[in-house]
C-alpha cells in the first residue's frame, strides 16, 4: 500500500516538472530561480523509481520482461526533460540549441525531406560503399592468407590508408568520381577496406591447431578446409569488422557530403541547415542518422547471433 503511494508521488513529481516546462513562459528560471529547487525533488523521485523498477526486473517474475525496457526509457526521458527545462528556463537562443520538442516537430514536419536524404546517403552511398569495401577487404585477405609476400606488403600499406583523414580524401574523391553518391561510396571503400582486411586475416589465421590436424586426418582438400574450417572460424572476426564498418560507413558518407553533393543527402542537410540557422533540422537529421546507425548495428548483431550460435560468447555469456 505504502509502495503504491510512494510510486504515485514519484510519478506525480516528474509530471509536475513536465507540466511546468510545457506551460510556463520562456525564461522561467531567470524570473523565478526558486523553481530550480523542484529539480532536487524530481531527481530524488527518478532515482527511487529507477531503483524500484530495477528491483522488479531482477525478481525473475512474469512482469520482469515488461519492466526491463522501462528503465533506460525513464532515464532517457529524464535527460530530455532536463534538456528542455534548461533551454526553456534560461531562454537559451534556439540558434544555439533547440529543445527536444522542437526537434521532434522538425522530424515529423519534414519526413519527405528526411526520407529523400536517407535514400541518397544511406540506401545509395552507405550500402554500396559498405558492401564494396567489406567485400574487397574480405577477398584481399583470402589472398594474403596464402601469400606471405602480400601479407607483409599490404599490412603497413593498409595501415597507412586507414590513417588518412576523411576530410582529406573526400574532396579528392569528389573530384575523381563526381558530386553524386559514387564519390561518397568511394570514400567509404577506403575507410572500410582496412578493418575488414585485418579482421578477416586474423580470423583466417585463427584456426586451432586441433582443427587443422583433424582436417588433415580426414584428408580434406584445400577448398574443403577453407569452406568447412577456416571460413566458419573466421566469422566472429568478420562480424567484428562488419559492425565497425557499419558505423564508419555512415560517418564517412555524411562527412564526405560536406565537400560537394547534389542538393540532397544527410551531410548536405546538416551543413546547409547549420548555415540557415535551422538547428532543429540539423538535430532531426542527427536523430535519423542515429536511428539508421543503431538499426544497422542491431541487424548485424542479429545476423551474427544466428550464424554464430556455436560461439561461446553467444552460447553462454549474453543471456541477460
Amino acid at each position: 500500500m505504502l509502495n503504491i503511494i510512494k510510486l504515485t508521488t514519484y510519478v506525480g513529481l516528474i509530471l509536475l516538472q513536465l507540466i511546468l516546462v510545457m506551460k510556463a513562459e520562456v525564461g522561467f528560471y531567470q524570473q523565478t530561480s526558486a523553481l530550480l529547487f523542484i529539480w532536487f525533488a524530481v531527481i530524488f523521485a527518478v532515482t527511487q523509481l529507477l531503483n524500484e523498477l530495477t528491483r522488479i526486473s531482477e525478481a525473475m517474475t512474469q512482469q520482469a520482461k515488461w519492466v526491463k525496457p522501462l528503465i533506460p526509457a525513464l532515464f532517457a526521458f529524464c535527460l530530455l526533460l532536463i534538456w528542455e527545462s534548461i533551454i526553456k528556463g534560461f531562454a537559451v537562443s534556439p540558434v544555439l540549441l533547440p529543445t527536444p520538442s522542437d526537434i521532434l516537430f522538425a522530424v515529423f514536419n519534414n519526413i519527405p525531406t528526411l526520407w529523400a536524404d536517407f535514400q541518397q546517403t544511406y540506401l545509395k552511398a552507405v550500402l554500396a560503399g559498405f558492401f564494396l569495401g567489406s567485400l574487397s577487404g574480405f577477398i584481399v585477405a583470402q589472398w594474403a592468407v596464402k601469400s606471405v609476400f602480400l601479407r607483409n606488403g599490404l599490412l603497413p600499406l593498409g595501415n597507412f590508408m586507414s590513417a588518412i583523414p576523411i576530410v582529406g580524401i573526400a574532396p579528392i574523391m569528389v573530384m575523381w568520381f563526381g558530386f553524386d553518391w559514387q564519390s561518397k561510396a568511394a570514400v567509404i571503400v577506403v575507410m572500410t577496406f582496412f578493418p575488414m582486411f585485418i579482421n578477416t586475416l586474423a580470423g583466417l589465421q585463427s584456426v586451432d591447431a586441433i582443427h587443422r590436424d583433424l582436417m588433415h586426418t580426414y584428408a580434406a582438400k584445400k577448398s574443403q578446409i577453407f569452406l568447412k574450417s577456416q571460413l566458419p572460424q573466421s566469422l566472429p572476426f568478420v562480424f567484428n569488422a562488419l559492425k565497425l564498418n557499419s558505423t564508419l560507413a555512415l560517418i564517412g558518407a555524411i562527412v564526405a557530403e560536406f565537400f560537394g553533393t547534389p542538393i540532397v543527402g544527410m551531410g548536405f542537410r546538416i551543413s546547409t541547415e547549420v548555415g540557415r540557422m535551422n538547428m532543429d533540422m540539423v538535430w532531426a537529421t542527427i536523430v535519423v542518422a542515429a536511428i539508421a546507425g543503431s538499426l544497422s548495428y542491431g541487424a548485424l548483431a542479429l545476423l551474427e547471433k544466428s550464424l554464430l550460435f556455436w560461439h561461446p560468447s553467444i552460447r553462454s555469456g549474453n543471456k541477460r
Binding site: 529539480w39 537562443s93 569528389v174 573530384m175 546547409t272 540557422m277
Partner: protein, 334 residues
C-alpha cells in the same frame, strides 16, 4: 545548482564592471570569411592605429568554412560581426535578434560564371543545365533568382540541376557543372588563373539581373543598442572602420600588403590580394553619406528580393527593426 549560478552571476558582474573600467575598450570582430582583402578596411584601420586612436582594442577573428558569424555572435564569441544581409535577416527571423549598424558594400560582387561552350548565352539557356551554388547562407540570392525565372531547382529538362559547390571553382574545370558561383573579387580570378580565358566565359552579375542583395555589413545584438555606453563604443568602432576603408580604397596595393601581413595561414598571394582589393573597392558604398551608411532604399530592395522567392522563402515576413542608424548618427557627433 543555485550556488553555481550565484557564483557564475557574481563572476559575470565583476567581469562586466571591469569591462567598463578599462582604458581601451575591448571589442571582438568576427569576419565572414578568411583573412583576405574583402576585409581590408578592418585590417588597415588596425594597422594604422585608427581603432587605437578611438580607444578601441580590436580583436579580429577570421572566419572560414563552417564558421557562421551569427552563431559566434549568439554564443558571445564576438561583439560585432561581418555578415551578408540575406543570412542576417533569416537569422533574425529564426530568433536571434541581430541588427545592422553599418553597411560597407552597397554593390553585390556575386555572379554566375558560365562556359560559353555549354551553350549558355542568357539566363533563358539555364534550362537543363548544372549550376554550382554555394550554400551555408549564400544560396539565398540564387534561389530568389531561380524563382524569378521560374526554374525549379530540382533538375530535369525544365529546371536547373544545382550542385552544392565547395568554396572553390573545381566543378567548372572538372566538367561537373556548366556554371559556377563566383565573386567578382575572388573566385572569378581563380577561374582565370586556372586557365580559362575571358572569351571562353559568359558572366551573369547578380546586380545586372536585378536579384542582388546587400553583402558585407556590420551586425550586433539588438539588446546592446539599448545601452548608450555600448552604442558609443560601436560608434567609435564604426568611425575607425570607415577611415580604414577609405584609406584602403585610395591605396589598394598597400592595403593588400597589410592584409597579407595579417594572414596567419600564408595561403594568400600578393597578386591575388591586390586584384581582390581593386575589385572590392568598386563595391564600397558611395551613396551620399559615404561608406558605412545603410541606404533604406537598398535595404528595401534586398527585402523585396528575399520575399519574392515564393518557392523557397528565405524570409516569410517583412523584418522589423532589422537595421538602425543610431550608431551611424552617434558617429557623426564624434
Amino acid at each position: 545548482m543555485s550556488k553555481t549560478l550565484i557564483s557564475i552571476a557574481t563572476g559575470i558582474t565583476l567581469f562586466a564592471s571591469s569591462f567598463t573600467a578599462s582604458a581601451a575598450e575591448k571589442l571582438n570582430l568576427q569576419l565572414k570569411w578568411v583573412t583576405q582583402a574583402q576585409f581590408a578596411g578592418y585590417y588597415v584601420a588596425l594597422e594604422k592605429g585608427f581603432y587605437k586612436a578611438q580607444g578601441i582594442d580590436l580583436n579580429i577573428k577570421p572566419g572560414g568554412p563552417d564558421i557562421a558569424p551569427a552563431q559566434v555572435l549568439a554564443g558571445g564569441g564576438a561583439d560585432v560581426i561581418v555578415d551578408w544581409m540575406p543570412s542576417a535577416l533569416a537569422t533574425r527571423e529564426k530568433g536571434l535578434p541581430l541588427v545592422n549598424i553599418g553597411q560597407i558594400y552597397d554593390k553585390s560582387g556575386m555572379m554566375l560564371t558560365c562556359l560559353k561552350s555549354s551553350g549558355i548565352s542568357s539566363p533563358a539557356d539555364f534550362k537543363g543545365k548544372t549550376l554550382g551554388v554555394w550554400f551555408f547562407g549564400n544560396e539565398y540570392p540564387f534561389l530568389s533568382w531561380m524563382s524569378k525565372l521560374n526554374y525549379p531547382t530540382t533538375g530535369g529538362k525544365d529546371g536547373v540541376t544545382v550542385l552544392k559547390q565547395g568554396f572553390n571553382v573545381d566543378p567548372i574545370f572538372q566538367g561537373q557543372a556548366d556554371c559556377v558561383s563566383t565573386m567578382t573579387y575572388n573566385e572569378y580570378g581563380q577561374v582565370l588563373d586556372g586557365g580559362l580565358s575571358n572569351d571562353e566565359l559568359v558572366l551573369f552579375k547578380y546586380e545586372e539581373e536585378g536579384v542582388a542583395t546587400l553583402e558585407d555589413g556590420l551586425y550586433v545584438l539588438e539588446k546592446n543598442l539599448k545601452d548608450p555606453k555600448k552604442v558609443a563604443t560601436y560608434a567609435k568602432f564604426l568611425k575607425a572602420t570607415i577611415q580604414g576603408w577609405e584609406w584602403a580604397a585610395k591605396n589598394p596595393k598597400e592595403a593588400a600588403m597589410i592584409v597579407l601581413e595579417y594572414d596567419d595561414t600564408g595561403a594568400q598571394t600578393e597578386h591575388h590580394q591586390i586584384r581582390m582589393m581593386t575589385e572590392v573597392a568598386k563595391l564600397l558604398s558611395n551613396s551620399g553619406e559615404g561608406i558605412g551608411y545603410l541606404d533604406p532604399a537598398a535595404y528595401e530592395r534586398t527585402v523585396k528580393v528575399l520575399l519574392d522567392s515564393d518557392s523557397a522563402p528565405v524570409i516569410t515576413k517583412k523584418p522589423e527593426g532589422a537595421y538602425s542608424h543610431i550608431v551611424f548618427d552617434k558617429m557623426k557627433e564624434l
